[in-house]
Symmetry: C2
Subunit: 246 residues, 2 copies
């Protein structure tokens, strides 16, 4: 009987060319599909909630695969974790309705971007933050983020390649929090994201934090749909896909 | 004029064979001495507060070097950070009294050991924790740690090699704290540590947390001076030298 399974996946993307299967490149999807193949003798396709780019991490990526198997969800959970590299941890595997689709059914996604903003970089954990020496103005950055809330055309923040038929998305959450020693965390939750959208937003918000863009200019950049007005794309290593809501 | 400089150093020890200079191995001391040599054209010796073993990390290792130089502390700070690999960050460099000695003058050292105790390992940051699946009894572990406080002979917890003339040390602090999702942190502060002492203590305390040793047995193991009764040495990757007090 064909069954449908949902996975929740954490990964350190530092050594990977992103989620999506590619010829001759190490990707998260390909690694997990290979393990599924080894366990089932079949070639189940793993459908993620969406791609993550090369070097981007995930704490709670979601995915599903369909397979005609007698193996239970718990056997998949243990088997995958024993077969996969330590870069990938499957946190849960459970059977879901035949109709469940990890991409089409996703209601929202939460991304987190981590910045270290202080005089000196760090050694321990540096692979998970964007280090910025110049002091950033958090108030200005928050004012920019506030302009993102709601339903907008995010064409300004769409990377080239993989264009979507619609670039309209709804952002429900756009926060900046500060913790100890210059650690800044930007949380962005939306019903969907365009390619490079979070990193392009973060790059532009950081320009504002540096004093190069005012919040009003940020609002006009968002409205312009003109990618050339956006800031540089923030580095992949600071970005985490935290959770997908269904 | 010969000047004396003190450094505070953070490092990710994962790729290093420890602090101490060795032939044909990459070590923290050797990397920093090489950078000092490049900056001064001399060969200053860098004296650390003590060695850390292969794979152990530091957030605040202290060290000093003497050098006949016109370079200022600030020039050393910037120069070293630009020459060193990203695994090593110098957090401060300042001139100190000629008599200051990073090892002999150290009053106490604080080490931290990080454990992840839950059903599932993690991918992100796994290089900095000891993952233990079996549930540990934190109350029992705390009761063991309490027996360490004070002046004791720690011969039980001394690794082979590098024996010290005295194995008596004073532990001022031995705490276990729990944070989110099974993250356990053991803090140990003492006037000095023997080789492998923290990792040997942690390995034994974990045995107690697993129910294999009672706190009273732990106390007797400490008193016995018999290394064969100590638990296995905990992995290096969970250990951090946090700070050295002078």
């Amino acid at each position: 009987m064909v069954k449908n399974f949902k996975l929740i996946i954490e990964y350190d993307g530092g050594a990977y060319h992103g989620w999506q299967r590619q010829k001759n490149e190490r990707t998260i999807q390909a690694d997990i599909e290979q393990a599924l193949g080894a366990m089932t003798g079949q070639a189940p396709k793993l459908i993620g909630s969406g791609r993550t780019d090369a070097g981007v991490h995930a704490l709670g990526q979601a995915a599903h695969f369909r397979c005609d198997t007698d193996l239970t969800a718990d056997v998949f959970l243990r088997g995958l974790n024993s077969l996969l590299s330590d870069d990938i941890v499957i946190h849960s595997c459970r059977r879901v309705d035949d109709g469940f689709h990890a991409r089409y059914d996703a209601k929202s996604k939460l991304y987190q971007y981590r910045i270290l903003n202080r005089d000196r970089p760090k050694a321990v954990g540096r692979q998970y933050v964007w280090f910025i020496r110049q002091a950033l103005d958090c108030r200005v950055m928050r004012a920019c983020l506030a302009h993102l809330i709601g339903r907008h055309d995010f064409k300004t923040f769409q990377g080239s390649g993989s264009p979507r038929s619609s670039t309209i998305r709804t952002i429900m959450r756009a926060d900046l929090s500060e913790s100890e020693q210059g650690a800044l965390v930007i949380d962005l939750e939306a019903d969907g994201f365009l390619k490079y959208m979070v990193r392009s937003i973060v790059g532009t918000v950081v320009e504002a934090g540096r004093g190069k863009i005012t919040p009003l200019e940020f609002k006009s950049i968002l409205a312009s749909g003109d990618r050339s007005r956006a800031g540089a794309t923030a580095p992949a290593k600071g970005l985490f896909l935290v959770a997908v809501t269904y």
